[in-house]
Symmetry: C2
Subunit: 211 residues, 2 copies
Amino acid sequence: MEDGEPSSTACLPLKEEKLQQNPKTTKGRQKIEIKQINEESKRQVTFSKRRTGLFKKAAELSVLCGAQIGIITFSRRGRIYTFGNADALVENYLRRTPVMLRSHPGGDMANEGEEVDGLKWWEKTVESVPEEEMEEYITALSGLRDKLWTRICQLGGDRMIQMNAPVFQNQMAEIEWKLTDENLTVRNDQGQLGNDGYLDIAAGTFLSQIR
Amino acid sequence: MEDGEPSSTACLPLKEEKLQQNPKTTKGRQKIEIKQINEESKRQVTFSKRRTGLFKKAAELSVLCGAQIGIITFSRRGRIYTFGNADALVENYLRRTPVMLRSHPGGDMANEGEEVDGLKWWEKTVESVPEEEMEEYITALSGLRDKLWTRICQLGGDRMIQMNAPVFQNQMAEIEWKLTDENLTVRNDQGQLGNDGYLDIAAGTFLSQIR
DNA sequence: TACTATGTATAAAT
DNA sequence: ATTTATACATAGTA
């Protein structure tokens, strides 16, 4: 059909003429189904484009409506991309959901307030947690999650609204789980914590979130 | 061009005739400037529409690219709207940024591991923190923010990318501050913490983020 | 809430 | 990265 399709003999180089006249060089944006993109490179391009778009939208929304917005994204590769000030966000979130944040219940508390290496004990990082205290540490961390959620739901009522695009909820949960698993595995492979119990406990934690 | 344009006299009152023929019931979407919307009701409508759009985009992105995405929004009214599983997000975030999470450094640590009211000490909420320990508690919480950020930047490198739409960065910071202030005030008004020092310390914390 | 017309994001191709 | 055509989001209105 393509108007003036070259009938071999008469008008051969029509393609070029067509380009001049109505160049339709691309098919333009095509409709796509919202489902996992399998092709690696394509997925990466899409992720990059849409992440940019998402963050732009978030920025616009925050300016237009004076809302405080934070986005944290864990890419499939395990990279973290954040929008807004993630730590302020997290702190604010935690501030609004009062819980005990202690996550290192073990250890010697006799020298409370004392400084070791010029640091208050609560300023030390997890790396300094001895192997034998790790399990309790992890338990506390898992507890934190539950406490957070419980507390949030309590606060909830009219002050909190949880929104998930209903259609995607199950898929989200699935993906979240898979990726959490992936992240934890990567983390484990890096041997930073090197505690076998870690993955199992975390797995239980997240599995419980999937209905 | 519009086929069959009625030429009344010569060609003068074209406007009206055009309207009749093509009654354009609305002006359609108009371009808007990205700046604070002052009109309350308009802002609310926009917030609602765009928040929905943002969450939809996030859902699509997560499905298409298998990314784990979480969004936390504090509306100007202090409401929290979240997308994804905020607590999982926060926990995952914290998990990836090892820090001491202790935020209640004061208190009697002699009964370490003991249970009070059937709760481990790290399971108790902030409400149970005595007034005289509050300041230290807050200091620890502020410390947490810094620790988080520092640790994140350390982890950073190729595994972390911070993205802010550059154009909006300052505005974001401003808004974040204003809203944080607002939230804290609200919180204070509710008398849940009822500590005068609270606001001041928090203020310093957030002010330091604004360049 | 639902509708239109138009602005904006982006899939595909370069 | 840039371009283009099209799908999608949404400002203003009812």
